[in-house]
Symmetry: C2
Subunit: 378 residues, 2 copies
């Protein structure tokens, strides 16, 4: 028995051996062969990633640092001038985005957990700023989730520009406030749509609805850490964690109710149902879901030239499952899922972004986190 | 090293231990807890299963026997009077079906590999008959796939009644004739739609197309061993094997081209592409596909009362993968797949049928094959 345990342990140790990213191991997947390259490491729980026009990366660390990383992987000291950030639990500095007109206005955007007056409450906020040398200037808060509550969880969030230049912000229901996701008098469990100056687009779906907050685009969400615009249709696709499973991909349309916490595919811990089941009139079902949960995070559509057979596919990073899911999309259907990287990388993945070079960039969620990228094998 | 190998072997042996079907092990799956019961065994590679109005089962054995199995599991001697059957390779006695008006006309249907004049060629045929005591009477061939060719593979087939009383027959492309799947002057790689007397329905899609065989409903198929009518929409959903992977579920609509061998998700043995890729104008993409292949066989929609949370789900039996896939369907999308039975049963599964009692019945593809059923756990 002792011998068998030892054998099992040494087998387990061999299976868990760290993947040597310098060895240029070729991953042969269904539609592409690639290597995994480390672009930069030493990043503390990186959360958001965006590329400036000169290919410099803007990366957030959840504890509250915003950094530039040069294309050759040099990590710069934190930019100064961030607002006060509530960096506890799931809170901190979250997503980053670059203005579509950055070449003219130089503006960047970031979401973060914003403390209340006395630090006992908080919510998710969005600010814009410009980078000047090693600091942020013209820092302007353009959105603040209402109301602030006492919670360390479910802040969301992703920042995604629609094709019309408006900004989608995905927001969690703060865990303690899940019933709020079904009412329109708050920003919990919502996608909001704003202009970049923080004003409300005149064509938002609830601007004429009495008692509804006018920023709301869609509701009935749980905790959304992934969102992307479909490259052909312009529709927002979003990802959210289910309770005890049931992570969802939704087609996020104006005024629609995505069901949480009334309907969900998640199971209760004992295997029972939460809420009222899986479907209800007036509530949208997801386009795809995972049970058991992968703990999905960032997602992106691939449109580059480096991986021709990945064009149009939706890539979804996951934390607990440590995989990058490739979803083969046809219209608004998911035809097939391939799970990548669990064996070859084996790290919690917070985000996936297509680089300007057409490589796929990933953030590993670790205290010594990294930016890695997938590069076609020769 | 020797010790480790022994330990590994004994671990493997433990994992491969046969599942004791009499132990009433409860399988706790995502949406149901059930036990697996053996209804009958000693069946040689059972292929098709249908229920008569008195709950007696009609089951085919591929080598060329058609048997009745009483509801309590008693297996009766083969019915006499079958036509000559070419039972080699994948050929033999295949699917069975019961006339929707069986109560009045007593007719059954079966598909089989029919030898040519000199036994060097063959094709798939369909006959109808009535059961009288221990034999078949009024045996009438109602369809014969044209042309007959020299091949032991890809016969199809499933027999499925549409809601209008016409009969769909799914037909393989005979492997050696795959290019035939793209032309309408033959029955290779086709779904055909016939009346139960063998005549051609006047509203078949190609009845007015010069050079086209009028029985054809859809084309561009490979080898279809699964088909079922959607309980709400009445649309035919079919399953087919891909080449080296890429098993497909298709929504099988009149006059549509399902792409084989021009487009496929299957990979070549070296990992390269077959045909021209995955998509082409004028060809339908599947609603879902598996890569690597499961080797999918029979399929059915569940509509019973025994498993309320399975209602509307599509169940797909697979041979190589030894699983029963449960596909959660919403409209014409597959939202989620759960794979059942591999660990608890671990047998090649040829078919899945809902019984009149609402249990799910399966055929295991073995020389000592069985009818097993899934029964809700107490
Ligand atoms: Ca939902
Ligand atoms: Ca096809």
């Amino acid at each position: 028995m002792f011998t068998r345990t030892l054998a099992a342990l040494s087998l387990a140790a061999a299976l868990a051996a760290p993947f040597n990213l310098n060895a240029k191991t070729v991953v042969d997947s269904e539609r592409a062969s690639f290597t995994i390259e480390t672009v930069a490491d030493g990043l503390k729980n990186p959360w958001g990633l965006a590329f400036l026009p000169d290919d410099t990366m803007l990366v957030s660390e959840r504890e509250g640092n915003l950094r530039l990383v040069s294309p050759d992987g040099q990590v710069w000291p934190p930019l100064q001038g961030l607002p006060e950030i509530y960096a506890k639990g799931q809170g901190g500095l979250l997503d980053v985005a670059i203005d579509p007109d950055y070449a003219n206005n130089g503006r960047i955007y970031f979401s973060y957990s914003e403390p209340g007056e006395d630090d006992s409450t908080n919510s998710t906020a969005v600010a814009s700023a410009r980078i000047q040398d090693d600091k942020l200037v013209d820092v302007t808060r353009i959105f603040s989730q209402q109301p602030k509550v006492k919670s360390n969880a479910h802040f969301g969030s992703r920042l995604v520009f629609a094709n019309d230049g408006t900004l989608f912000v995905t927001l969690g229901e703060r865990y303690s406030q899940k019933d709020d996701a079904q009412t329109l008098d708050n920003h919990h469990g919502k996608v909001v749509r704003i202009n970049t100056d923080g004003s409300v687009p005149a064509d938002n779906p609830f601007v004429d609805t009495k008692g509804a907050l006018p920023e709301i685009w869609s509701y009935g969400h749980r905790n959304m850490q992934g969102a992307a615009i479909h490259p052909q249709t312009g529709v927002l696709w979003s990802g959210e964690h289910g309770a005890q499973g049931g992570d969802e991909i939704n087609l996020d349309r104006a005024a629609k109710n995505y069901g949480w916490p009334v309907i969900t595919y998640g199971e209760d811990y004992g295997g029972g149902e939460i809420g009222e089941g899986f479907k209800k009139a007036g509530m949208e079902t997801p386009v795809y879901y995972w049970l058991p949960s992968l703990a999905t995070a960032g997602l992106t559509f691939y449109t580059g030239e480096q991986f021709p057979d990945w064009q149009g596919d939706l890539f979804v990073a996951s934390l607990k499952a440590q995989t990058l899911s490739r979803l083969d999309i046809e219209g608004e259907r998911v035809l097939h899922e391939e799970r990548l990287l669990k064996d070859e990388l084996g790290k919690r993945l917070r985000h996936v972004v297509q680089g300007p070079d057409g490589y796929l960039y990933l953030l590993t969620d670790e205290s010594n986190g990294a930016i890695v990228r997938l590069v076609p094998a020769d």
